[in-house]
């Protein structure tokens, strides 16, 4: 979170370094006080008893408390209060020309929707750099929390409520995100990726997603795969744009072949992993909600080829 690639993360990193400097000084000074107090007291030779020790040398008790406990802390807290207000004021403010992205926390993956272009995907969020983005975060099940440490702080995904995270990425790149609110058995495998593209690349990506390119099977095996996919249970839960598969329980798979991972960054998106995932999801992400799909080896290979071809 300290190597920020967006306004919010950078501001917060700045706050951190300021606090870190102050904290180091405070810790060293106060710890020195503790050590000196212990050592000093031990050096005193016997002879004087409790009563005289009470009136011993050094500043008055109240002086310690006034300076250490009241005056210095008030100054430090005053600085922090100003920093808090200043930083909070500029962050997460609505801007002109925002790209709206609707993110819905699922168990245990993320549904991504671009309302202006009516494009739906999962677990990978493409955004353009240098353009303000308004991420509308919600959930239709339990509470999740949306966190991309290199871009911004957290925003919870809460059922019955839409929260906004407004940010602007400064550098193109791939940033890992996590679900940060405990959401059940596979909370650990609910990661996602934010891909900040240059505006040109982003437009190219969006144009392709908006159209039907990449959705048509280009080989016999893919053809067979599409047939199996729409015939078998797959279509009950998943959508592939332009086919009869319109399920909404699981992630939209229309651009599956272009994704980097399967099951929210659990394993890399390779044909072998996908084949295993279809046959026995439990072995990859125990407790996830996708049932195993019993297919013949040939059918499974066809489905794998079909899905991997959706780019």
């Amino acid at each position: 979170m300290l190597n920020g690639r967006a306004g919010e993360a950078n501001r917060i990193a700045g706050v951190w370094w300021l606090m870190f400097a102050m904290a180091t000084v405070v810790y060293v000074v106060v710890a020195a006080f503790i050590v000196v107090a212990v050592v000093r007291g031990r050096k005193k030779k016997g002879g004087d008893d409790a009563a005289s020790a009470a009136g011993g040398t050094g500043p008055k008790d109240d002086t310690f408390i006034w300076f250490g406990g009241i005056i210095v802390p008030v100054l430090i807290l005053g600085v922090l209060a100003v920093v808090t207000v200043n930083t909070t004021e500029v962050l997460r403010k609505p801007q002109q020309d925002e790209l709206r992205v609707q993110v819905t926390g699922k168990r245990w993956w993320w549904d991504i929707h671009y309302p202006a272009d009516n494009v739906t995907t999962a677990d990978e969020i493409h955004i353009p750099v240098d353009r303000p983005v308004d991420i509308e975060i919600t959930s239709d099940n339990v509470i999740h929390s949306f966190w991309v440490p290199q871009l911004a702080g957290k925003v919870d995904a809460i059922p019955g409520q839409v929260n906004h995270l407004r940010l602007k990425a400064t550098d193109p790149g791939t940033y890992r995100g996590e679900c940060a609110e405990y959401c059940g058995i596979e909370h650990a495998h609910m990661s996602f990726t934010v891909i900040a593209d240059t505006p040109v690349e982003f437009d190219r990506w969006m144009t392709r997603r908006r159209g039907s390119a990449g959705l048509t099977p280009t080989s016999d095996e893919m053809d067979q795969g599409q047939l199996v996919f729409t015939r078998e249970a797959c279509a009950g839960c998943h959508t592939v744009k332009g086919t009869q598969a319109t399920g909404t329980v699981g992630p939209d798979l229309s651009d599956f072949g272009s994704r980097r991972s399967i099951a929210s960054l659990t394993v890399a998106n390779t044909p072998a992993n996908l084949s295993r995932w279809i046959a026995d999801p439990e072995s990859i992400k125990p407790g996830n909600l996708m049932p195993p799909t019993a297919l013949s080896d040939a059918d499974r290979a066809a489905v794998v080829a079909y899905l991997e071809g959706l780019k």
Binding site: M1, L2, E8, A9, I12, V15, W16, A23, Y27, V30, A31, I34, V36, A37, V38, R40, G41, A50, A53, A54, G56, P59, D61, D62, F64, I65, F67, G68, G69, I70, P73, L77, A81, T84, T88, L91, N141, V142, I143, S145, W147, P149, G153, K154, V155, D156, G160, R176, E178, A180, E181, Y182, C183, G184, I185, H187, A188, L265, P286, G287
Partner: protein
């Protein structure tokens, strides 16, 4: 030395009057605050070590990336039960246990104000703990110790395990509430003559704040989990968004208790430190009024910071800024206490005994935990670190370092009083150093893991995220820390038999518990001490003890009170004697009542009306029997005391030596 005036009966005979029946009957019927206090401490430490083993299990799983030591279900159960156990079955009740044992001794009385209620709150705690842990047989709760809805709603967690958690919290909350009521009345009404509020030991102050905070905060968590149980068991709609309910309401209720709870745990821990530091600095606590005032202030402010646990829930910025500000301000009273301790040591002569080492370790750890606490109060920074390992590090520095370390210090400090034997100092110091080193190896790297983006409560993590090395270090540290605690466990077991036998006041401490024998007799004080100083054992040598007066109001002060099994009641502010409180004899009533409530909860759990009704019936019977006997336990009818001020009964009567000194 000798007793100036011979007591009417021999001490051993007085002891017999107070003795519990031997064996099991006495075990289930005792109302002696010391036995109950020890029981609390033993039970809590049992849970402490269980929770510690759970933590070690989690650390084994997290030591390497993609480990398969525990599955996700078990991991989630363990971190849930670890949190539940540490908060509800160790930290809160163990402090109540120390309070139980020490408060009557520190304020100079013979028992708690409601000895039977005291036994009741222990039984409720024990049965509540057993209730929660019996989920072990059916699958343990796995919704997190905080159990956010809707994750723990019937829809998303249909199993019985969540009900064990929800009902268990309501159940143990009852114990905390009843215990706190008892502490408050005991502290206000049973203090020895002369112990005005500004002469109370700081630990008593801290338990008073603990109790007031508990009675105002616990209802919130009872309602949070209780309303969720209504949703789960009876189909209500408090937290169902589709029916107009609100999931955020749950979070508000939970944290309205949750944040004060942090201070409920922390305040008595600092109270212990404020006893230990002056004793081993050989001088009175610097800024007594500052410290007492800080405790009270913390108690108030802590009710205004709960929203800082909810900064990521999308609330209006103005509201969050307010709570951010209050969260900054709450550090001030802690700063005051901190420098009061430093000033105490600065001008004292520090003896580095084991309790003092734990106190100094506490200071160094709490300093860091306090600083990171200030950081997470800063709203934008909290957005980044909340629910990350940074926060895990922060609250373990506070709840483990700044609460468990004082508790260990307190064990070493008060064990001689509780058992009459010292713990081995050698083992104690070893235990401290191993714990201190292990603690920092465990929890310091977690700050960095948070910065590296590691979220809380994940059961595994992928290779190549750069988290592996630090996690391995954390796991090694946790094993070292566990070893350190085990050394103290061994030390206790060993010293129980072989420890050096000590006198009344082995540490040269100042408060009243050290004026009686170690361990104290059943009746604590044959005659009640007369207090004229904040540090009676330092300033009043020899400590004067009261004689029984002829008036009913003062008859309980002297040895006659011990003979009659009563303890004096004094006016709340200026501690004038105003009557006597009969100490009830042993009784099974508290156990039966707690059992009835346990049966009711089991009935709710398994949705069996018959069982629930049976529980209510049992509890009602016990309550009626209890209420019926109230007057029998009160002193005989008294005449309105209209004695002229300063009458004969008001003469200062003292014996120069307490019964504890007879043997010298």
């Amino acid at each position: 030395m000798a007793i100036v005036e011979a007591p009417p009966v021999g001490e051993s005979e007085v002891g017999e009057l107070w003795e519990d029946a031997p064996g099991l009957p006495g075990f289930f019927s005792t109302v002696d605050h010391k036995r109950i206090g020890m029981r609390y401490i033993y039970t809590c430490f049992f849970f402490f070590f269980v929770a510690g083993l759970m933590a070690l299990g989690m650390r084994a799983q997290l030591a390497t990336p993609n480990a398969k030591v525990l599955g996700p279900e078990l991991y989630n159960e363990l971190f849930t039960m670890h949190g539940v156990t540490m908060i509800f079955l160790f930290n809160t009740p163990v402090l109540a246990g120390f309070g139980n044992y020490l408060i009557p001794l520190q304020i100079g009385t013979r028992d708690m104000a409601f000895p039977r209620l005291n036994a009741f709150s222990y039984w409720v705690f024990l049965l509540g703990g057993i209730f929660m842990y019996s989920s072990f047989l059916f699958g343990m709760p796995d919704g997190g110790w905080f159990g956010y809805v809707p994750l723990v709603s019937k829809t998303f967690s249909p199993g019985l395990n969540i009900d064990f958690w929800g009902l268990g919290i309501v159940f143990t909350g009852l114990s905390t509430t009843v215990g706190s009521i008892n502490f408050i009345v005991t502290i206000f009404k049973l203090r020895a003559p002369g112990m005005s509020l500004n002469r109370m030991p700081i630990f008593v102050w801290s338990m008073l704040v603990f109790s007031f905070m508990a009675i105002f905060a616990v209802p919130a968590v009872t309602l949070a989990t209780g309303l969720n149980e209504l949703d789960r068991l009876f189909g209500t709609a408090f937290f169902v968004p589709a029916l107009g309910g609100s999931v955020l309401l749950y979070q508000h209720l939970f944290w309205f208790w949750g944040h004060p709870e942090v201070y409920i745990l922390f305040v008595p821990a600092t109270g212990m430190i404020s006893q230990i530091v002056p004793t081993f600095s050989g001088r009175p606590l610097a800024g007594y009024l500052w410290v007492a005032g800080s405790l009270v202030t913390v108690g108030f402010i802590s009710f205004g910071v709960w929203v800082h646990h909810m900064f990521a829930t999308g609330m209006p910025a103005v509201a969050m800024a307010f709570f951010s500000g209050v969260s900054l301000i709450i550090t001030l009273p802690s700063g005051v206490q901190f420098f009061a301790w430093i000033a105490t040591m600065w001008k004292g002569r520090v003896r580095l005994t084991t309790p003092m080492l734990f106190a100094i370790g506490f200071l160094l750890i709490f300093l860091l935990g306090g600083i990171t606490g200030v950081m997470v109060a800063v709203l934008p920074f909290d957005w980044q670190v909340t629910d990350s390992y940074f926060v895990v590090a922060h609250f373990h520095y506070v709840l483990n370092g700044a609460v468990v370390f004082p508790i260990f210090g307190a064990i070493y400090y008060w064990m001689p009083k509780m058992t009459g034997r010292m713990l081995s100092e050698k083992l104690g110091k070893l235990s401290f150093w191993v714990m201190f080193v292990g603690f920092n190896i465990t929890f310091f790297p977690m700050h960095i893991l948070g910065f590296l983006g590691m979220p809380r409560r994940i059961y595994t993590y992928d290779n190549g995220l750069g988290w592996g090395g630090l996690n391995a270090m954390v796991s090694i540290g946790s094993a070292i820390f566990g070893l350190g605690t085990a050394i103290t466990l061994f030390n206790w077991v060993w010293s129980r038999r072989k420890g050096e036998v000590v006198g009344d006041d082995p540490w040269d401490a100042d408060s009243l518990e050290w004026s009686t024998t170690s361990p104290p007799p059943h009746y604590n004080f044959a005659a009640i001490p007369l207090v004229a100083s904040r540090h009676p054992l330092w300033d009043q040598r020899p400590l004067p003890f009261a004689e029984s007066g002829d008036e009913p109001d003062t008859s309980g002060l002297g040895i006659q009170g011990a003979v009659d099994r009563e303890t004096p009641v004094t006016s709340g502010i200026d501690t004038r004697p105003e009557g006597n409180l009969e100490i009830p004899h042993e009784t099974y009533l508290p156990f039966v009542l707690a059992l009835g409530i346990a049966v009711l909860f089991v009935g709710l759990l398994i949705q069996a009306i018959v069982v629930g009704v049976a529980g209510v019936a049992l509890a009602m019977m016990a309550t009626l029997w209890w209420a019926w006997r109230t007057e029998e336990d009160l002193p005989p009818p008294e005449i309105e005391p209209e004695a002229p001020v300063g009458s004969a009964a008001g003469e200062v009567t003292t014996t120069t030596a307490g019964p504890g000194e007879v043997t010298e």
